[in-house]
Amino acid sequence: MFESAMEALSIVLDPSRMLFMCLGIGLGIIVGLLPGLGGTVGMSLMLPFIFGMDPFVGIALLIGMVAVIHTGDTFPSILIGVPGSAGSQATIMDGFPLAKKGEASRAMGAALFCSMIGGIIGGIVLFLAIPIAAPLITSFTSPVLFMLTMLGLSMAGLLAGDSPAKGALSGLLGLLIGAIGSAPAVTEYRYTFNSLYLSDGLSLPVVALAIFAFPILITMLIQKGSIAKTTHLQGGVLKGIGDALKNKFLVVRSAILGSLVGFIPGLGGSVVDWLAYGAGKKTVKNNQFGEGDIRGVIAPESANNAKEGGSLIPTLLFGIPGSGTTAILLGGLILMGLEAGPKMLTSELPVTLSIVWTLVIANIIGALLCMILIKPIAKLSLIPGEKLVPFLAVLLVIGAYQSNFSWGDLITLIAIGLLGYIMTILDWPRPPLLIGFVLAVSAERYYWISIERYGWEWLGQPVVITIGIIIVILLTGGAIMKKISISLQREGV
């Protein structure tokens, strides 16, 4: 294994392949940077070119692109509070407040450094998981997947803010929005008002842009100021890297969490950043998450790059894509004459290993490239809102249109955007809505399959009970802790 890994490294480091990897990295950073464009767009863009390509060259191009999307998408999340892709929403929670304080460079430095480390850890996890992947994946039966979905949903509770009722309603609304479209187990359309656009359900990039980006545009216009409230930018990139190093355990923890969640087939990696953010909020002491705590940037950024490594495992070994990006990657592999499946571990092992190396190398190059860009791009946060917003609005509209190339995308953008704005001014938490939206289909699917297949017996499975206990602790533990701290505070007064 080690020998073949070295062999694969020499294949990857071949100059012509490195050139293609750099091409992929450049593209990945650009599509990550532009709100609304993500891995899916980048992949479909390259698909026509890889037809019949040498697999190693094609892999360098495709994986190089995928690896750095969550490096590039950090910029808009931190600087303007607009998610660069669906995987970097949680970064907004603390990254944007930091930019407001004029510490955009520091946040960017920490974020990029964590992206790099996270990506490398993701690559290592992919490498280590290769021999044990098959039995691991088959251990996720439908009841287990259902309980994991529930665990993800209860994470929404952690992000609910002050009012549990608002948080719960926000999550429920997300689940309901997620139920729009065709039901998973039967071809029946729900809440579609006979519109063909709604029959596929709403797409995540549009909802994410609407719920996070639209409100911030309106807010910026009303406040008529630049994002950074101070006139000069303080705190440099190095300070951010220092912050990341100080929190090395958080980085490693979040990265491992990220790659594990990516690894679980059928859960979808889109909530990874929120899970890492929630877990960080829960475990970091004395935190001020949500008000510009650098650790609130470190946790999701370490996780979202690590996710890619994990999510390649079910894709390559079982041909089960975990996201739109990996779905297209599967198609790309076929076009290059490769077929995902157990063969990727035997006769095609060099390809798999070259994917691991490409992930690691691309993450390093991508992060370094982005660090050079920090200084010029960070100045964006000094531009007054009314001068920046009209251009962002154009970007937002074009970005949203890329999901389905449909007018429905634009109407959804405005409708959900208004909902998001009202929630902002009334202090309703928006993350639960998004988590609910993403997990709705999995929740429905695995609940139904569990009941149909096992009756009520599945509730007795040991794994199911264990996850159930974790959920209860997560939900009540927070409430109890809060009560204790409040009563302590009162006593203190």
Partner: protein
Amino acid sequence: MTVRKMYTLTLLLILTLFLAGCQSLVLISPNQTSKGEVDYQDTLLTMVVPYQSGGGTDVFARFMTKPLSNHIKNQPSIQVENVPGGGSITGTNKYVNSYSKDGTNLVTTSASTHIPYLLKQSSVQYNLDELTPLVGAPTGGVVYGSPDLKIGSGFELKQVKEDLFFAGMSPTGLDLTTLISFEVLEIDAKAVLGYEGRGPARVAFEQGESNIDFQTTTAYKHNIAPKVENGEAIPLYSLGQIDENGEVVRDPQFPDIPTVKEVYEEIHGVEPSGRVWETYKHFLNATYTLQKVIWVHKSAPESAKNELKEAVNKLVEDDQFKED
């Protein structure tokens, strides 16, 4: 009405299926020589794919563009245009409604485009009768079971004591044909629906969540055939192929696996017949034999259609292409 449509499809197929056999591509258009000449010089052909890029149909379409273009005079480039949405209905509707019918626009559809048409879903605005099929790629399917069933082949299906569980997506498309085959054989398998695709359904089989499953030709050869060798899966029967007489025959890809028909004959001693059997054949046709089809507007200029047909004829006969 629906039945009539099914017959149209079947007839269309039977008429032109003489090229079927061990080939991976079936020529659907009649072999006529063109008289009018059409000039595709400097024109750009568009291939509409009503799916997101990267899916099975998209990959098929992209595979076809290069060789197809090579066989058209002046070798015009063919660009693939993805129009996703509505489970392929949006894109196909758009093709018939807003793409110009001058023979420069083609569309690739798959089973999930044909089924809503057969079932007369209200959102369908296309009529397959108004499209001319150029070329199609058939696929096959094999039903296999877990060794826990303690049987050696499909002929012993009636002796299974265990409860049968089948993992599927939804009662349409490819799953539907398998479900009807259960009905033909009167197998009492509980269909657990809602899986994300054939891939996750295969994982469910490996987990023991289901114990009877099917996969299409490529997926079976890649993922299940090794399992069969290790004794982790047992092939039960193949869904078969429809021959020129409209009969179900052995799949040339799986000459050693009996078809549904043979299994039925073995169990019941008579040939299958009746409504369920007829329905089975229709769906086998619509979902497998016509799994992926490239069409052009029927009202396109004759000369353009002929040129395209001729290109496809040459393509199917091209030995080099067959090897791919």
